[in-house]
Amino acid sequence: MKKNTYDMGDIDVAWCPGCGNYSIIKSLKHALVELGIPPKDLVIVSGIGQAAKIPHYFKTHFFNGLHGRALPPATAIKAVNPQLTVIAESGDGDMYGEGGNHFVHAIRRNPDITNIIHNNMIYGLTKGQASPTSQFGFKTPVQTKGVILEPFNPLTLAISQNASFVARAFAGDVEETKEIIKKAIQHKGYALVDIFQPCVTFNKVNTFKWFKDNTAYVDDSYDPGDRKAAFEKALETHPLPLGVIYTSPKKNTYEQNTGLYVKDKNPLVFRNQKRSQKLLQLINRL
């Protein structure tokens, strides 16, 4: 597969020059090419925000839905056609704020999808308000005296709910991020990849340098299978951990748990069901 398989060519991109999104899209495209997943087998589902525009810069199937609502359609697409690789991708405000409830329940459902969050700790598209992951005391035109809410920690929340795959990456490290994304896509079950992403226009605190100085990869001896240790790791802030933080013991995916793919591997949407006889039998049973 060609390296530029997923490229759209010369198009107008709405991201600011120097935005961390450029690195993330590069890592993702390379990951998909290296995994040999063709565009016709991939669906990118996104919400609203600058990060959520990613499918428009991607040659593939896409469902760019509503703000905060990428996970429900992504779950459903995978359930009715498990042959598709499904990625739900948006920013921190979209996934953790507006769509917070879906985040919690997607973890519980465990669909075999990859959930990528561009986490820049700020709202970019609405021009610089606090996001759920903004740090305590972070000043914005709205949070004039600084954020007074505890920052949202997606990793501890996901581990607490026994998410099947929990990872964090940094947009500045294109290679490492690509490798983490590859693991997430290959993982069978819900896979969270929270990616630190500098917002060069609005976040003057959590800059490229800040992320470099305040993050560190887990070392080779780290065991992501130990849930308690993973939780402790996810609590760390100095430095913030990067890498695959947690993988749960093997469990069935949502699609498997529907029971609809036990006898018939054919995606639900391609089955040609004949129901007349079954309906007749059912109505006679009532």
Binding site: A14, P39, K40, D41, V43, V45, I48, K53, P55, H56, K59, T60, H61, F62, F63, N64, G65, L66, R69, L71, P72, P73, A74, T75, A76, I77, A79, V80, N81, Q83, L84, N101, H102, V104, H105, T258, G259, L260, D264, P267, L268, V269, F270, R271, Q273, R275, S276, Q277, K278, L279, L280, L282, I283, N284, L286
Partner: protein, 577 residues
Amino acid sequence: MNLNQNKIKDISIVICGAAGQGIKTVENLLVHNFNNSGYHVFSTKEYMSRVRGGTNSVSIRVSSQKVAALKNHIDILLPLHSKALNHLEKRISSETIVIGDREKICKECPPQVKKFIDTPLADMAEDIGGKIFINIIAAGIITGVLRFNLDQIKKDVKDFFSQKEKQIVERNIQAVSQGYSYGKDFSDKQDISFDLKPSSDIKKQVLINGAEAVGFGALAGGCDFLSSYPMSPSTGVLVFISQHAHEFEVVAEQAEDEISAINMALGASYAGARSLVTTSGGGFALMGEGISLAGMIETPIVVHVAQRPGPATGLPTRTEQGDLELVMHTGHGEFPRVILAPGKLEDAFSLTQKAFDLADKYQIPVFILTDQFFMDSYTNIPAPDFQSIQIKKHIIKTQKDYKRSLITRDGISPRGIPGYGEGLVGVDSDEHDEYSHITEDLDLRTKMVEKRLKKMEKIKGDAIPPELIGPKNYKNLIMGWGSTFYVIKEALEILKLKKTAFLHFKQVFPLPNETKTYLKKADQIVMAENNATSQFGKLIKLETGIEINKKILKYSGLAFSVEEMAEKINHLLKQEE
């Protein structure tokens, strides 16, 4: 005593008690027995929003002819606790036969209670094995009073308890038999007789409720994805389809909230499934943005809204036709939609089935609008014709340069799905180009708006015409929509007005083309609706310019009874006839 003095060919039976007392068991047993005995049967319930206690009632009608409306009058009343008689005081007359232990249920009987089958129900039940048998004895008494076939009710009891141990089945048969002879003795002594005639075609009919009718329609329409959040009175559809999901290969998911439900359903539909959500007012309000998304991404969706009285939580377990305007206007922006409102259970089946085809054909949201009265009503209907079901999939195999939002003459872009063909399939909630990629090209925006709205022309051509009942050369026209079909029809049968007809709408939006012609023919028009502001009347005014001033409205949370509908029509039209 003869209940049939006025040649009434149907009998009204009411069971009333607290939640948890087993009213449903008696209802279930009796409606099946009446159906199996060859009678037309109808039952509806009114109940409180609680799990135990309170006062709930089930009204059952058994008849020689089709009835499917609430009757106010009660011929036989089975009160299961002491508050029942007060609860139903307005519906009890001197002709009402009350069955029960007088000491326990009627210390201070309403003065109009004249006919009491004083029955030591509790003692009889204890003799058989405990209080649990009270309901079955009572069901036996009712069938005995009616002098129905003893073997049939014994068989029905046996079937009803077929999952239980043999000993339990036998005791229940004993209970129903004892009740039966008690009731029959009373009937003989008091010389009670009824003019009920079984009908041979009932054998070919099926007994279902509104929720099942919608559920069957969905399954027949090819529904293979359902995501919803439980909310009375819409939950019945979620339960029904979930129970048969495996057999019919349906993903049936209880979502974390209604927002998730509608977005999941749209995701599944985008991928090629036939998606349904079922909800009620408050839950539907949460789906508003999702409905708008369906309009923008032109992805088919069928939404069942079972109405209950609002605003806000309102009366969770009661009925109203109060959400027509909500469904009409839900979703920001401008996009086409269709709203269907069944009046008969057979319509609920066929319209829900059709809704999936319309949604797919035009890539729009299609709404099925019912209400609590409709959801919870049982009646026997001709078995739907399942053999002739044909599901037309409006999906194409995509080519390489596929454009999901292609601008076409009729506004309908050929619908592709991911993984079927060589093309890439995109949808976007932003304004978009023909590939569905985000755009702020305002000329293109104008074209896209026109493309989406253009579909309305064909949609209007597909509108289901209203049903006219009564003389074609009418002077007066009663109008109704959705669940009021049978109550208006029966009220007019009682009134026997020669110049009055009834026009019933099962498609309320867009209005069928012939609407204005029907209205113009009438000198007087009366709109009957189960709401306070005549929402359909307002829609008629908006679409036809014709203002309907005479209205029959009810918004107490209960359905119209036949008697009150007849009285109100009579009051408004008597002088005009």
